[in-house]
């Protein structure tokens, strides 16, 4: 690749990671007391906050009510100070609306909506700092928030981004890698069954490279799933100690 060396000859990326290595993940559930469920996740320098309200009665137009399952309503927005160049509008632009639709699609596949007919579940995600992998951080934060809210899901939803540089798939891209490498695949996986909730890529990629890229992304999602599982168990332990069980 011309310009910045995304993968050095020794096999190290810009921030010193190996191609299949994820960034440092720190997460916390139950950040806000007023919301039904909330979570915060840091993946490297990307920080995302997710808040869940629901299930509650459908707000606004009654037409949106579904008689046999819950309606999932997502909103993705970025803080104006999250990107290097100040963003003028936090949400409402095309990219944010597209991301909100993707999140809605992802969580409709995972949440057991049949248990809550005629109700609505709101998932609001905010990016506080953006350094690549925005969609993945949102999905991971939202998974933890939905679990914090006590809404049943089929499985954890883990998401990761992947790219391709010089025949090597890179996993968990940072901003420089996303804008430099050209190919950026976003994958949301339900790890236990190996089911893909969302797959998105907009770039040119040779057909032969698609399989190794997807394999790398799926392996990364599974490791992420284990990290999220650890976070949930630790949170449960803390809560049960506080309530004296």
């Amino acid at each position: 690749m011309a310009g910045l060396e995304l993968l050095s000859d020794q096999g190290y990326r810009l921030d010193g990671r190996k191609p299949s290595e994820l960034r440092k993940i720190q997460a916390r559930m139950g950040v806000f007391a007023q919301a039904d469920g909330s979570a915060y996740i840091e993946q490297g320098n990307t920080k995302a906050l997710a808040v869940v309200y629901g299930p509650h009665e459908v707000r606004g137009s009654r037409n949106k009510t579904l008689h046999d399952r819950a309606v999932i309503n997502c909103q993705y927005s970025m803080a104006t100070f999250s990107t290097a160049e100040r963003k003028r509008r936090p949400h409402g632009d095309r990219k944010s609306s597209e991301m909100s639709l993707h999140l809605k699609q992802t969580f409709e596949a995972a949440i057991l909506t049949q248990l809550y007919p005629r109700s609505q579940i709101d998932i609001y995600v905010k990016i506080l700092q953006s350094d690549g992998g925005n969609y993945s951080a949102c999905v991971n934060a939202a998974t933890l928030a939905v679990i914090d809210a006590g809404i049943p899901m089929r499985d954890y939803v883990c998401a990761c981004s992947a790219g391709f540089v010089e025949d090597t798939p890179l996993v968990d891209l940072c901003h420089a890698e996303e804008s430099g490498s050209g190919t950026a695949l976003a994958l949301a996986l339900l790890p236990r069954g190996g089911q893909i909730a969302l797959l998105q890529m907009d770039a040119r990629l040779h057909q032969d490279h698609l399989d190794p890229l997807m394999e790398a992304a799926m392996t990364a999602c599974r490791s992420l799933g284990q990290v999220l599982d650890g976070v949930v168990r630790q949170h449960l332990q803390e809560v049960s100690v506080l309530t004296g069980e």
């Binding site: 720190q26 916390r28 007023q34 309200y53 927005s77 803080a79 100040r86 949400h91 409402g92 905010k126």
Partner: protein, 291 residues
Amino acid sequence: MAAVQICEAEKVYIMHGVRDDLRVDGRGCEDYRHMEIETDVVSNTDGSARVKMGYTDILVGIKAEIGKPRPMVPDEGYLEFFVDCSANATPEFEGRGGEELGSEISSTLYKVFSNRNSLDMKALCIAPGEHCWVLYVDVLLLQCDGNLLDATSVAIKAALFSTRIPKVHISEDEEGTKELELSDDPYDCMRLEVEDVPCIVTLCKIGHRHVVDATLQEKACSMASLLISVTRKGTVTCIRKVGGGSLDPESIFEMTETGKRVGKALHAPLMKLLQEEEMLGKKKQKVGFLG
């Protein structure tokens, strides 16, 4: 504001308590809730702060950009405020729902900071008439539990204190075109004098008395409030009455006196805390949202 519905019995209970200087959570009429302040929470801004007051959670990020100064005052920089009432706080703020409250808060902030003595704008000038620093102050409302403006003003003061603006060197070539060079050294930066930045105190009138730092339930009992912005010397820079009810002049005078007293007492501990946090330097534990 995210409204809370309370019944008549609760209103009477709160009003009787306030009359006897005892509020629902045990505070007196002039006591603030427990406040937690942390600066430098978002690393890719020039200055940031997070304030938690009860359940109210505000995050302020300041970004400094080079822009053209205003034609009326060519040797000064300026501040631009933007308040984002995010859907995190309440589902009613989804989409465009939070814009009304956001623009109300940002217009109050513009008024408070339009005072010439609050912040030294001349320090933000680079080349008179051509370049100046524009500070974009972005306020993010994460949780709403009453008393938004007080928390916002404290957060803005803390964020301005922690703002580091890189130093600029102007070099001129032979043709006379000026080139601005930003210093690469992260420690070579300019800090702002925030001693005179005012803090806003909101006083809500409940019955015949007034309270400082009202929660949502107390706000639902009050008909009118007074917003006062006070500097550390006790000078009042801006007064605004909000709410549907009316206040008589004696109440306004009493509330102003209380506001001056409470506001003046807020500045000294705040500056001391900010300076202590700065002294920690590298040893400071970054907690952020993970704490």
